[in-house]
Every structure is written in C-alpha cells, then in structure tokens.
Subunit: 386 residues, 2 copies
C-alpha cells in the first residue's frame, strides 16, 4: 500500500536560502518507500543526491535540451567531495518521438560499455519522457538497478513522481511496454522550472488544477489565490503546489494501486484530452493543454447532468484561463472525431465508455458509465462546430 | 521467501495412466506462489492449463522447432470445451542467437496486433530461450501480464522452472536485459522429452547431477541407480528427477533470493563451463555439456585441495560418463584461455575469483575465494594440453 505523509522540514518562506528542502513527501510503499524532496536550489545540495547512491557507478540519462543546462550541475553534485564515484552520462534526442526501443537500447549500450554493475544507479534528468525511459531501463538492466528521478518539468514533477509507471511506446500505441518500478528518491529543484517554456509550465498547471477539482477543494481555492505566483515561478508557491499534487496522487494510488477504479479519477479530462491528441495529431498541443480543454468538457457535461452547480463550471473555466490554458478543443475536432477516438479508449468496458465526471460540491468526482448519453452528445456538439 | 514442498498427488507408477500429474511442486512466494505440475501426458489434461488462464485471450510464444510438434496440442488444450477463449501464437526462430531485442519485438508486435489486454496470458512453449523471452515479454507488456511456462527441454524443466529469471541478450553480453518475474504455473509434460535429441537430454541431466553433488547425496545415489531409466526416458524416473531438481532449486533460492552467496552454489562447474563456452565459441557445446566438463574440473580441484576424497571424484566422473557427457574440456582450450575467460567472471570480487567447490562428504559444497591458487593452476594444467 502507498500512503503519503508530508514532513515539512522547513516551510517555504520568501527568503531564498530558507526555501531549500522546503518539503519532503514520503511515498510509503513498505520496503520500496522513497522520499520526494521539493525545494529551490536542491541541485546545490550534494548530500540529497549522494545519500541515495549506494554503489560507485552512476549513469545520468538526459536529453539534448536539458544536458546543456543541468548535466554539469548534477555531475558536480554527485561527485562533490566524493572521489569514490564515477559518473557517466547518455544524452538522448528530445521528444516523445524518441520514447522507443531504439533509443532505449542506447541507454543499455552506454550502461554496458561503461561497465555498470548491479550496484550502479541510474539518474533520470529531464521531463516525463526521460523519466519513463530511464526508469524502464533501470528496471530491466541486469534485472533491476537503483534509480533516482530529477524531474525538470512541472508535468513530470506533479505526475510522474508518484506511481512507479515506466515504459516506452510501441509504433502501434503509447506506453505499451514497461514496468512498475519505484525510484530510490525523487529530487525536485523548483529552480529548474525557471528555464521551462511558459507553455510547458502551464501544461503542468493543468494537472495541478485537476487534483483540486477531483478531490481537494482547499487546494483548488489556494490555487485560485496563488495562480499569479505560480505563473511568476515563485519558488515557495511552486513547492507547495508540487507537494500537494504529489500527496494527492500518493493517496489515490494508495487506495487503488492496480488502477481498477479510484485511480482512474486521476484521468479527469483525459478521455476528451486523448481524443484531442489523437484527432489533432500528437505534438500539436502539449498533454496538459489537451487535458485542460478536456477538463472543461467533462465539467460542462457534469453540469448538463445536473451533478454540479454553475459556480464550479465558472471557477474551473476561470482558473484555466488565468493559466492561459485552452478551454475548448481546436477547431479541427469534430463530434465524429471525438466519438471515433473515444470508442477505443482503455476505459471502454463491454462497449460502455466510463468517464470521470464531477458530482457534488467542489472536490468530488465519480468514475462511471451510468450517465445519460444525451449529455455527452450535447457537450460534444456545444464544443465542436461540426 | 521461497520454499518448496512436494505434494505428491499420485506417485509415479509403471502404469502409464497413473503417471499423469504424478507430482506437484509448490513454489511458495507469498502472493506470487505457483505450482509446477510434473507428469506424463499432462498436455492432454486441458484443465491443468485452463485453471491458470484468467482472461479470455492467450498468446502462445514458441519456436520453429517446437511448433510443428506441440503447438496444435497446446492450442487444443487451451480451447477444449472453452469457447470463450481466443488463442493466438507467435513462432520465433530457434536458437540462442535470436534471444535479442529484435526477436522480442516480434512478440510485442503480435500481442498488440491481436489486441491482447491486461488480463491476457502469455504461454511459453519451448526451451530456455523461449521461456526467458516470453517471460520478459510478459513482464513488460502493458507493465505485466499473466504468464505460464511449458518447458519442453529437460534443461528448462530442471533449471528455468524456479527462480523467476527472464531476459534477453545484448550484443555485448548474455542476459543483461530482463526482469525477475514469476509465472502463474509451470506445466512439465515428460512426454515432450520423447522428441528431445539425445545430446539435449544429456545436457539437462548435467544440471540434475549438479543438484546431487552440491546438496543432495540421496538424490545423487538415486541417479546412480536410475541413470539408464533416465536415458531411456522412463516417465516416472524423469518425473522424479525433475521434481527433486525443482525442489532443490526452490530451497536454495528461498534461502538466498538475491544471489549473494548460497544461490551461487547452483553454479557448480559453471565458471569453468562458461570459460569453455566463451573460448570454444557459443553453440559448439550445449550448456550442460560445458557444465559437465566444468564440474569434473571443479571436483578435481576440490580433491587437490584435500577437501573431498577420491570416491567422490570417481562417482562424479562415472555418473557423467554414464550420461555420455564430456568429462574434460575440448582440446582447443588452453590454460591461457581459461584464465582469460575466468578473469571477467561475474563472481570475481576485488580481483579475487570465487569458485564453487565440493568440501566434506558427498552433497556438500562451498562458495569461496579462500583456496590455494596452486590447486587451480594444477587443475588447469591437468585438463589442458597447453
């Protein structure tokens, strides 16, 4: 079972130096438990990394975008006053298109060439693609070696930090090959978000908003008050948003590790969103952008069913607009395109499409196939021109 | 923890019909426990297979040698009075040379094309290569699906049935990419050994002899008395040899799941044997043939150290000769070739080569680097012409 507990070492404050290691979220998985360190300047704290490296050999897996910015810093942190250690790195091409077996083999090639042994540690330095690939490589290399995540996008920090999903794409589908594999630790330096493009920051915020909508009204209210601080990359606001997101995800996963029901609620807006990504073409919109538009559609449908009142619709719309996220699908999306894509969704069981919909006061949702089909039709027609 | 218990449903008897499901070995791994069914004619018992298939879709992974002999039989057993089920199969090229990523991808391709879902079951029908590849494919497909093993070689039956090791080779080394992954069940039909070439049968017997030498004097004595029955493929003799081998392996793995010390004793003769496989070229000798010669060398060295008496040397030599296994390395092997290959053995720690050697009465061994180097040299010179 996974459970999350926040151990605030020092709560984030406006003083920059004090915000270091502002929070540790403990993901409790029995003998596979691990800490998530969250704060500003954590890459300048060598001990945080070194304490989770058990052997003498480290392989940093990163990409061509992140390497020029942070690879030296990470290597320095690993080697700082630590002459025992040897650090190698492999720099992969950047992008979802390279989350494939061919690129994964480059990680194995490098690991074998540099004689990594069973006690080595793989470090994932980058966004979700790097985390997924490095994690799967660590799971499979010599049947499993240690693994540390340093996520550098908000999306990876609030989503991939918890859950242990790793893997690669197959030409015929996303994430079809992989493993459930837990890291030794996750190190989130909020300073890495300073180099993140605005659109990518907003994409991550879409997932943060999701946690508020599905299960945490207090957090949603905090976001309404602090959206400008988040967009302005205020370290303590970011640290708090990341902490609450990781805690919420850890709690949900704890209650339903095998994704049978409750865990599906983490996919609010994702069924509509995936339809947009499929119909529009992957790479046109960022994942969080498609999810944002998808959440607005799910919220609209919930209102049509009479399950939530209008204020929730307005507040959801408003907060996503503040974050400059899209709140409707791209014009290219037709009702037909939505229906085609949604028919092959993983959540279809016996021909019935189950959806995550809001129901009740803010912070409550359901995962159900028991809804009036007309509401879905009406939502699709309201958001599509044809 | 793994522990083995034999639950003899019906002890094997000369009557053919009675020998079905002669034995079940339970591998006890907590919630990952599974049974190994051993007996003659088990592929004609559809229930044994069907009871471990939970979903509606099955993918049988086999090779070009085994498919013509047993694929139809397995498909029939799976589908017998079971119209719910759909069975697909993928036939891989036969041989260690194809235990690679490219061939593994063919399994994923077929699984995706035939729309296998999370509740599907992969069935490995073949020898060690098929078991390793199908097991790793099952571990990684959709992050883990059910998996049943039907090993058709004696080597796979007495070695791969216990331990959960799956994986593929990398161009730079064997078994470098994989997972620890347990099957739902293992079905060993001793009748499949009727089509196994004599050399392959003997190769498996080398591993059977190993269990006797390292930890089971009673089993060794049984083998001395029953070697002709084994070579004559007597079903109940085979079933007993397979049962005791699986039990011995399960007990060792239980005591040392992570291969830190005791589990290494399962590699008696393998350090010398791997040197032969490397120096002679993989594929020249079968694995068990190289292990047989390697065991004779390890036994010889144990005697030179004064750790065992001459009768054990003679009995080991005699039983392997009965099985028509090689008892010395091929002429191409020089002292130098042995030393080169043994220097890069995985069991070298801090420059010290640790070996599995017999010590004490029959059925006792040690895994140690604490031995007189001269004994190793003398053994190498005694077995090599130069």
């Amino acid at each position: 079972m996974i459970s999350a507990s926040a151990a605030p070492v020092m709560e984030g404050t406006p003083q920059k130096t004090d915000s270091r290691v502002s929070t540790i979220v403990e993901v409790d998985l029995g003998n596979r438990s691990y800490p998530i360190y969250i704060g500003s300047g954590l890459l300048d704290e060598p001990d945080l990394l070194q304490r989770h490296v058990h052997g003498k050999r480290v392989l940093v897996v990163t990409n061509t975008t992140i390497a020029p910015m942070y690879l030296d810093k990470v290597i320095k942190a690993l080697a700082h006053e630590n002459s025992n250690i040897s650090v190698e790195s492999v720099i992969l091409p950047d992008g979802e298109a390279y989350k494939d077996m061919e690129t994964l083999m480059k990680v194995f090639d490098k690991a074998i060439e540099s004689r990594m042994d069973r006690r080595c540690t793989f470090v994932a330095l980058g966004g979700g693609v790097i985390g997924d690939m490095c994690g799967f490589a660590a799971a499979a290399f010599l049947r499993g070696v240690n693994f540390i995540q340093i996520p550098t996008t908000l999306m990876a920090q609030v989503d991939s930090s918890v859950g242990g999903k790793t893997g690669i794409n197959h030409p015929l589908g996303k994430n079809l090959i992989g493993a459930f594999y837990q890291p030794q630790s996750v190190l989130i330096d909020t300073d890495t978000l300073n180099t993140l493009p605005d659109r990518e920051l907003a994409s991550g915020i879409a997932e943060v908003v999701k946690y508020g909508l599905i299960r945490d009204a207090d957090f949603f209210e905090w976001q309404e008050k602090n959206m400008q601080a988040l967009l302005g990359r205020d370290p303590s606001a970011l640290a708090y948003a990341i902490k609450r997101s990781c805690e919420n995800k850890a709690e949900v996963v704890a209650l339903d590790e095998k994704e049978s029901g409750l865990r599906a609620t983490l996919n609010l807006g994702h069924t509509f969103g995936h339809a947009i990504e499929t119909g529009f073409g992957y790479g046109q919109w960022l994942h969080g952008e498609a999810v944002a538009a998808g959440m607005v559609m799910a919220v609209d449908m919930s209102r049509r069913l009479g399950w939530i009142d209008d204020t929730i619709v307005e507040r959801a719309l408003n907060i996503l607009q503040q974050a400059k996220l899209p709140t409707s699908p791209p014009e290219i999306m037709t009702v037909e395109k939505f229906k085609t894509a949604m028919a092959v969704d993983k959540k279809v069981a016996d021909g019935l499409l189950r959806l995550i919909l809001l129901k009740g006061p803010l912070g409550n949702c359901v995962f159900t196939g028991d809804y009036d089909r007309k509401a879905l039709d009406d939502t699709l027609h309201a958001f599509c021109k044809s």
